[in-house]
């Protein structure tokens, strides 16, 4: 089990204990050497230096582990660094300034070569060594902010160069090689310079934090400088720092040199931080705005998920736009209306500009046309000069226009205006473009949602319409002496507007009608009801098919949508004269087949109902009057029969219907009806009927024969 697999707590204890034991060894060494005048040999000195190196290496590791677990922001790191260093300088000052005269609270100088003297020396060295380790650990967090492989490598180079300097000093004690220490110092200096320019955390700070950082780094600079001048008293300063902090130098010369380098690193880093913060202060507004843009974008993206209210969405969008460009600017949103099908966008919401100003100042049509073609944001940085802007003064200095594109369709445009010219740079264009994409998505979502709701509403409406339709159909067919009659009505998945009815007009005459409203849903059911009203009012009193259809036409023309019409066939069966009279008003022609299988499609006839006024309609009507012979079969149907399709997409058609009729013409009305439907179902297979489907079969058996229907 490796060391790193231990719990963090245990790791800390092990590291701390090891550092303590090693440190104690160095203290014992110093007491033995200085106080008791013990024997000094080179290998023992080297061994002690290695113990010092190990001690502070472990301290660094301990602190590093500790702060790795609780990361603070860059400013916090600067703060704690300043405070800790200040404490160390203060403690050093208590003892150190009066080193030569003695500690200030002792009245006399403690001789170096006494136990208290050595303990003070070692204690101060430990304090400063730990301070150096702390400095490195905190700087690491700053230097490795937004780390990359290169920055991590440079950082480790720095650590190794510090360790190398330490090692070089120890090395020359064993073998005096010239310039090894100097070389190590230069190398360490180079790595220090590389690392002090790692300041990527500065740019990400908001303005306030930068100001705070400025103050803190200034404090840190002063503190570190104090620590430095204490460690390296000026009067003893020479180019190479051989005579340095008296405490640490007495404890370990190598540690003293390494600490000095670390302090130089800290001071240089404070200087670059300070300068960088000063230079970045003016740009922090831009960085702040970027952050705000991102925030606005995120808010909108959330809106996309939450707002399904197409009515309120435009205003919410403009609310977000204001976060982008500021309150004092103007913005408006134009959307095409999906329901009316107009492609021209209408202004859905505006802010900072009134509707009348908008119509007077901006030639929106021209811009829509351009955006429709471009499908890219359009920025006018000198809007006043554009011929499509007609402001009296300089109300619109610059104008950004973003088409809203979803599913490859331009559904509208977002306009953002500023009073200043050159108000939008490339960055703005990009973020507004991205914003517009989100807006388009949000609006599309909201619309799809509304469509869905509408569909459900229609679904309920259809259910009602179907109920109405069922009630409009006859629940019972009349029994006609000498004839058999069978009729059926198949509902499609959508409600169509089929209608049929039979009424006994008097003793010998039976009136019938079949109709198909050109539309579906409630309106179709409504016109069916109107047709039924007219039919029932007239069929009993005046069963003449022509009058009946003309009256129905008049009734329908009063309140009818232009694109709705009704096709119908009205007829009259007279059992006394054995005749059948029919008028076809735009409806699918009835089929007549006689006993011998001669087929006739009764195409004579005129316009559908509701297409024109009754005067013109009457001219187009051609009544058909047929003498009835036993075996005559008449088939009336709606186009749902002819247009029923199979899985291949082929329609059933007149020919298949006629062929099927030929085969089953010997049966009575019910049998023929069943055979025709069976043939149709064989053709369509499993497919449900797309349209309602009405099929009526009337067979004349002859005056003398009585047949049940």
């Amino acid at each position: 089990m490796g060391f790193r697999s231990l719990s963090p707590r245990t790791q800390q204890i092990v590291l701390g204990l090891s550092a303590g034991v090693l440190f104690a060894c160095t203290v014992v060494h110093h007491i033995h050497l200085e106080v008791w005048g013990g024997w000094n040999v080179r290998w023992r000195e080297v061994l002690t230096e290695l113990a010092v190196a190990a001690t502070f290496g472990l301290v660094y590791q301990l602190l590093s582990d500790h702060f790795q677990q609780r990361k603070s922001g860059p400013i916090r790191a600067l703060w704690s660094l300043s405070l800790v260093m200040l404490g160390i300088v203060f403690l050093s000052a208590l003892f150190g300034l009066h080193y030569e005269k003695g500690m200030w609270f002792f009245t006399h100088k403690i001789p170096d070569r006494t136990i208290p003297g050595v303990l003070v020396i070692c204690g101060m060295a430990f304090l400063q060594g730990t301070g150096g380790a702390f400095l490195l650990v905190q700087l690491r967090e700053l230097v490795l902010f937004k780390r990359t492989a290169v920055t991590v490598r440079n950082w480790y180079m720095l650590l190794w160069s510090l360790a190398g300097t330490f090692g070089a000093v120890v090395l020359v004690k064993l073998i005096p090689i010239p310039y090894v220490v100097e070389f190590a110092i230069v190398f360490a200096g180079a790595t220090i310079i590389i690392n002090v320019f790692r300041l990527s955390w500065v740019a990400y700070l908001p303005f306030r934090q930068k100001l705070i950082g400025l103050v803190v780094s200034l404090i840190m600079l002063l503190v570190l400088f104090a620590a430095f001048s204490e460690a390296v008293p000026m009067r003893k300063w020479s180019f190479i720092i051989w005579e340095a902090d008296p405490f640490v130098a007495q404890y370990s010369f190598a540690l003293n040199l390494t600490l000095t380098l670390t302090l130089i690193l800290g001071i240089l880093y404070s200087v670059t931080t300070l300068l960088s913060l000063i230079f970045h202060l003016p740009t922090s507004g831009d960085f702040q705005r970027k952050t705000d843009d991102l925030a606005a974008m995120r808010a909108l993206t959330q809106m996309v998920g939450q707002v399904f209210d197409a009515q309120h969405l435009p205003n919410l969008v403009l609310e977000s736009v204001r976060q982008f460009v500021g309150e004092e600017q103007m913005a408006w949103l134009a959307l095409s209306d999906a329901r009316t099908g107009t492609l021209r966008p209408q202004v859905a919401a505006m802010t900072g500009i009134s509707e009348s100003q908008l119509t007077q100042w901006v030639d929106s049509e021209a811009f829509y046309a351009e955006l429709q073609a471009r499908r890219e944001p359009l920025i006018l940085n000198h809007a006043v000069r554009d011929h499509r802007i007609h402001t009296p003064g300089y109300e619109i200095g610059s104008l950004a226009m973003m088409p809203l594109v979803t599913r490859n369709e331009v559904i509208g445009a977002l306009f953002v205006g500023k009073t200043l010219a050159d108000g939008f740079d490339e960055d703005d264009a990009k973020s507004l473009g991205a914003f517009a994409d989100q807006v388009a998505l949000a609006i599309d979502n909201a619309r799809l949602f509304e469509e869905r709701i509408e569909k459900e509403r229609l679904g309920r409406e259809l259910a009602i319409a179907r109920e109405v339709q069922k009630r409009l159909l006859p629940d019972k067919l009349p029994e006609i002496p000498g004839a058999s009659l069978f009729a059926s009505y198949e509902f499609a998945h959508e409600v169509g507007g089929d209608y049929f009815d039979f009424v006994q007009a008097d003793v010998n005459r039976y009136s019938f009608i079949i109709g198909d409203v050109s539309g579906k849903g409630t309106s179709a059911a409504f016109y069916m009801a109107a047709l039924k009203g007219t039919y029932h009012a007239l069929a009993r009193s005046d069963a003449d098919p022509q009058t009946l259809l003309l009256k129905a036409n008049e009734a329908l023309s009063v309140q009818k949508e232009k694109n709705i019409f009704i096709t119908a066939i009205a007829g009259l069966l007279d059992t006394s004269t054995e005749t059948l009279t029919m008028i076809r008003a735009g409806h699918s022609p009835a089929i007549h087949i006689d006993l011998h299988g001669h087929v006739r499609h009764l195409r004579e006839g005129g316009l559908g109902l509701g297409l024109t006024n009754s005067k013109i309609l009457a001219k187009t009507f051609v009544p058909i009057t047929l003498p009835l012979r036993p075996g005559d079969v008449f088939v009336l149907y709606t186009d749902g029969v002819i247009e029923s399709r199979n899985a291949m997409g082929a329609s059933y058609g007149y020919e298949r219907l006629t062929e099927a009729l030929k085969k089953c013409r010997q049966e009575d009305a019910r049998g023929i009806h069943a055979a025709l439907l069976a043939d149709l179902n064989r053709f369509t297979g499993d497919l449900r009927y797309f349209d309602d489907l009405t099929l009526i079969v009337l067979k004349w058996h002859g005056k003398s024969v009585r047949t049940h229907m």
Partner: protein
Amino acid sequence: MSSFSVTFRTTPAAQILDLSGELDAHTAQDLEVAIQTSLSNGKFALVINGANLRYISSAGLGVFMAFVEEIRENGGDIKIVALQPQVYDTFDLLGFPHLFDVLPTIEEAEAKFMAGELRH
């Protein structure tokens, strides 16, 4: 399921709408939008080219009825040309030839528009 498309062409004599595919209750709205767009652009002389129209339902026929009045009030007309036999049959059964100019070719429709004859 059913596919339908409209494309526009403008000739000196008329605005030509080339229909193709199947015009039924579901696709009728596309034609409505197309005709509406023509009218918004001030084009009232419309030729409906049915050469590639495979099928028309009663809802499709209703579209023509919805606009013809407005078009004629503006001095224009809808002329329907080059219908395939089965589509012509649907027009014919409903009596549309009584209401609309249904002609064999685009050229004939254009000639009629050029001659200033709007209604037959």
